[in-house]
Symmetry: C3
Subunit: 377 residues, 3 copies
């Protein structure tokens, strides 16, 4: 469905919703870790949607997510030892199996039947370990967001994790409107064409798409370099695209690229261009911090580890510019709890994202706004 | 008017006013920055009386103070770019002129008429940029406190800025009673004569003056060095003076010096002495931090940059001793919210300062005490 | 009296008492410092049971504990100067004698009779300076806990102070159940026999004793080394003991050692073994921090400074492992204020300790639980 009217919040009327601190849905799959981070050697501590977890692999190689606090005295299980199919508490040696049930206690034969720590549903997909911290009866692996480019053989690439000092919603805002590239990333991917060109916003179910085409323009430095990797010595104008696809609650995959100008890319023939996917999925940690997993996948020069590394380093530099901005924005929001926010045309995609998140939170019977900052105002 | 009775608070009765955390008047000029800190190259972030500001110079060279948060998403304008007469937001490129009105928005032709950030009155005087964050209708440049020695050709010298971890009122206390030099600064300017000599307190309008003369004493190390700069090989006794002048809300200029003993300095002939002015002006940042701008100006050896540097370094060392004490005092006040304070004779000047500040705050309809510390007690 | 029934809290029923943040009794002697830390050269700042103190020695060599805040403006006396029998404030020079009475004020002859800072009862015993911050009328030196091994000529050894980031009660828990050695200290003193062997819990008045004997076992590395210090070339099995004695509110002395197996140690003949005392006394600083004073005393090779140093270093390494665990446990308790705690058999000694502390707090008319963490949940 194509957007014909702006979403309710994108009007001239002020809306505090625009920058309030968003709650996160609990009934959702979130990435807890890259698959290689979870091993059978020692557990990994990570907080997902407010829940501290001890992540480990059991003797069958299956990833397990237990609450990171021993039933007995709350010692962190993530500092314990993996013993085959069991995780041993580092303080008094209580052992837990993959379901979280205690199987051994020190100096006693009988085990209290209440001795259980929560174990959370886990799915491994697209090189990530996804965890569901909400109602386990609703945890359907079919609802893991689509990130198939991560391990599809037609695509190659790599990424990193950013620990961002802001509410996850600010990262979604950042990615749903790429106009900011012109100002934040002017030396790499920014260019004036971004704020001058039109864009198209559509939404359907729990997805929102923002598409922008810029025709017959100069390639910015990042893209010129990539064109020359595929077409040595390339010079000339390009057609550039950015097709942003959000899938609730927090995954945004962006189809990006440039092709030689006028060779038919907008109509579907991308053979004279280079194409990448910026894969992003954001995991709320606390109300004011998140884990931001990203990768850059490409469909050319698949075997070149050099290009994989160059692209990862390049995007690393670009995203570092965003980190500073997001941290500053979070601080300003906490310092101005009464600010009335207005939205611009460029915010249309982000406004639809908020609509979907508010619907999900309402279905859980929870408000969309997290509590105001302690120490704000 | 000479003080004939002690101020109400300087009696034997306890007064919590003596060390409560003071509010700061809003209707007042505060120094935001040294003039050279505010440029047309990149904006400066500084918080004045609780208000975060982006300070910059426009194309005419005029200093401008805008609120440091973009109307759109609160991104810090102090991280933006100065483009002639406009400041551009670092996130989405909205531009503001010197009055704070938005003049450009990305990807749209029309500009929301509400798109304004606050712009604050600015005066440049005495090598400082002064800002008024209160009611703009009351911002009269004639009420900027007198610090004329800062750029009067009969005086030479330089200074620095201290970021002090205490309420601004504690710095005022520190400067209104120089008895503390004997204990805090014993290796440089302290001497027993300070607590043994009498002093005279007067007040008029929004000023308070504390004058102390010490006759026929040894010069402490700092002053002996200065006498020898002007009178090579000087030895012997001196007459020493400290005439402290407070001008509300937070400027204290101290006429200090020594002259050869018995040559008539107390009567007005300072020709056989050296004279300096310790120029201090304190800008509240938060309830518990402040910007402390100081300089040391002298009226001899005007052309010697060496002496300017030596004096600045010397005072730097002295004031570092105060910083530690002020931080410790602030911590102790927060930890003892119920403490009943009594005042000594030496506090008379400081008590009159409080009276004037309380009067200013009452005129603004605000209490004199800021909220107690979170985490105190 | 031997325990025949478990203490009330050591049942299958959950008890939030098990890990709540404990208040500390005020009417008790706590170690403020090692005797050598308190000198007549410069005062020592230390907070005991929530009270910031300035500790110093007067001209007679007697240790004095004054509140660390000047009567006048709360400047820290611990940064002042010791002048014979008086302590001088570092800010304005007010002087206090050993009873806390002000004896001199700057620039005035008369001294306000209210000018007093609290002075707390002090006892020097067992190489420590003990302070009583509660009701001074109850401060009886006869109630200082027994730590006579510290300066009894039959024992030799040394120790250190740990600043632990947890409520003092968590350290008591840690020491009352040494099963944790098997998991936390597996490379030095831990061994499986610990959780496999039985133990005996008794209590009387304000003491609790937990005794454990492990017969005919291998000596763990720490003890094997010590046996060989006394019996060069020793090999073979040992009988090992741990006799933990708690004396309220926070002293735990542990009789530890091993002897050649079957030579009669359990029956009282320890001549074929090595014996040490782990001397521990914990001083609450705040609700969530404490000073943990420990020493390791031995009754063999008394003259060897090498062995003293080796033992101090060895225990230092062991206790560093506990520090990490205690900090993690405190953080988890604050993050899980609603957690229901259950106790295991191994917690029996710790449960009796809680009973005694609750009795002491009730006698002071105070609740046993300190306020929940700000920022918890």
């Amino acid at each position: 469905m194509t957007l014909t009217t702006p979403p309710p919040a994108a009007t001239a009327a002020p809306t505090t919703a625009a920058a309030k601190i968003f709650n996160h849905p609990r009934n959702a799959w979130y990435v807890a870790a890259w698959d290689h981070e979870v091993t059978g050697k020692q557990p990994l501590a990570r907080t997902v949607a407010g829940v501290p977890l001890a992540l480990w692999r059991n003797a069958e190689g299956r990833a397990v997510a237990l609450a990171d606090a021993c039933w007995h005295r709350l010692a962190p299980l993530s500092q314990g030892k993996i013993l085959g199919n069991e995780l041993q508490c580092p303080y008094h040696g209580l052992r837990y199996n993959s379901t979280g049930r205690c199987t051994a206690m020190p100096a006693q034969e009988t085990i209290n039947p209440s001795a259980i720590v929560p174990s959370y549903p886990v799915v491994e997909r697209y090189r990530y370990v996804w965890v569901w911290v909400g109602d386990p009866d609703l945890a359907d692996p079919a609802t893991v967001p689509d990130m198939h480019q991560m391990n599809d053989p037609s695509w190659a690439g790599d990424g990193e994790t950013i620990h961002a000092d802001c509410n996850y919603q600010l990262v979604l805002d950042n990615l749903m409107d790429l106009t900011h590239e012109e100002f934040v990333h002017s030396s790499t991917i920014g260019q004036e064409a971004l704020s001058e060109s039109e864009f198209d916003v559509t939404h359907e179910g729990n997805t929102v798409t923002v598409a922008r085409w810029m025709r017959d323009i100069d390639a910015p430095p990042f893209w010129l370099k990539n064109m020359r990797d595929k077409f040595p010595g390339f010079e000339g104008k390009v057609d550039r695209w950015q097709i942003i696809r959000f899938e609730a609650p927090a995954t945004i995959c962006i189809d990006v690229g440039v092709a030689k100008a006028g060779t038919g890319a907008p109509e579907g023939d991308r053979s004279q261009g280079v194409n990448g996917y910026v894969m992003n999925t954001i995991t709320p940690e606390t109300d004011r911090t998140c884990h931001y997993f990203w990768a850059f996948m490409r469909n050319y020069c698949l075997d070149s580890q050099t290009i994989t590394t160059q692209l990862r380093q390049g995007v690393h530099g670009v995203f570092a510019e965003d980190e500073d901005m997001l941290r500053a924005q979070q601080r300003a929001i906490d310092a101005n709890p009464e600010h009335e926010f207005y939205s611009l045309n460029i915010d249309t995609g982000g406004m639809w994202v908020r609509q979907i998140l508010e619907r999900m939170l309402a279905a859980e019977g929870r408000p969309s706004a997290a509590p105001a900052a302690r120490g704000g105002a």
